[in-house]
Symmetry: C2
Subunit: 194 residues, 2 copies
């Protein structure tokens, strides 16, 4: 989506105002946000007390090889303090790089993969740590640390239970997608030097 | 523990002051609180990023046929907003009846059992609903509703993942144990009519 922007050339170099640059960045990060597995805003409230997870609605948010179930959530079940997701990543699938100010706990139910974890002290994610995760392990993401969960296995699915505090989740998208960031940087450089 | 109290007769009928009755109740509920699976206060802080759940320390809090693991918690791992437990109940085992002002989510990993759920609108728990739960179901306890999870199966273990908000959990123990409550009521009646 970002690829064609420099060539479009609607706003240029010294003539690109601060407002114009802001709008450009907003459009770019909004495009990236469409990949995020956020809760469905239109889902009906389910007031059942006990719910069978295997019968719950799955979403893939337009991403092949990905499945998301809101086991219990703010919009669907009226939770105010915690939300639980069940997510399955096919071989090679990964979350975007992102961060958030809530607490997040993962429990690996099946498969194995890699946690990529940057530091919140960096404005940009930099070179992340690569930490192997596998069935029956748990890990918590430090608040505001950029991270990515990646099914780095070539054959098996990776299934995780994800617990977040203070739902619905509010992502900080400045580090959502490092590749997108690189493209934004190239794009901005192009525009400023035009 | 409560059984012998009326016979002890240290405080009597019209002579039992409000302070005396308060102390008696405090002692009774403190005795009941010793059955609760709260996090170990002396456990060392584990700073590992990825932890193998199968190697974590189990506790049974002095209760036969019960196992508790703090998968991620306030005291052991510095969590501030969510805490996750893995609990296993042998056949017939159950939690005390209790309630708390935090949110609580259960995910049944193995076995089947019964959720007993009272209403927060009642000063005393009254006759609870009895709701069957089984593998791959989830349920959330409404804030402040008295509840009990019971492995009502005669053969299989019941294993649940428990998620609470705002750790460490603060139990309201006024409905912790309905049987204890009945004993307190009988005890108070005995003392008042002496």
């Amino acid at each position: 989506m970002v690829r064609g922007l420099p060539a479009a050339g609607a706003a240029r170099g010294p003539y690109l105002t601060a407002v114009g640059r802001g709008l450009l960045l907003t459009a770019l990060v909004a495009a990236a946000a469409s990949f995020l597995p956020v809760a469905e805003s239109s889902c009906p409230r389910d007031k059942s007390l006990v719910r069978d997870i295997s019968r719950m609605q799955q979403s893939n948010f337009g991403r092949e090889g990905f499945s998301h179930i809101t086991v219990t959530g703010a919009l669907a079940h009226g939770m105010k303090e915690v939300e639980v997701w069940l997510q399955t990543f096919g071989p090679g699938q990964r979350t975007p790089i992102h961060r958030h100010s809530c607490e997040e706990v993962f429990i690996v139910l099946k498969g194995k993969g890699t946690l990529l974890l940057g530091s919140s002290s960096l404005k940009y994610p930099g070179q992340p740590q690569e930490i192997p995760v596998f069935q029956n392990t748990t890990f918590s993401i430090p608040v505001n640390d950029p991270h990515q969960v990646w099914n780095s296995d070539e054959h098996e699915d990776l299934q995780v239970l994800v617990i977040i505090s203070r739902p619905p989740v509010k992502m900080n998208i400045d580090v959502m997608n490092i590749e997108l960031y690189r493209k934004i940087a190239r794009c901005a450089k192009y525009l400023m030097n035009y």
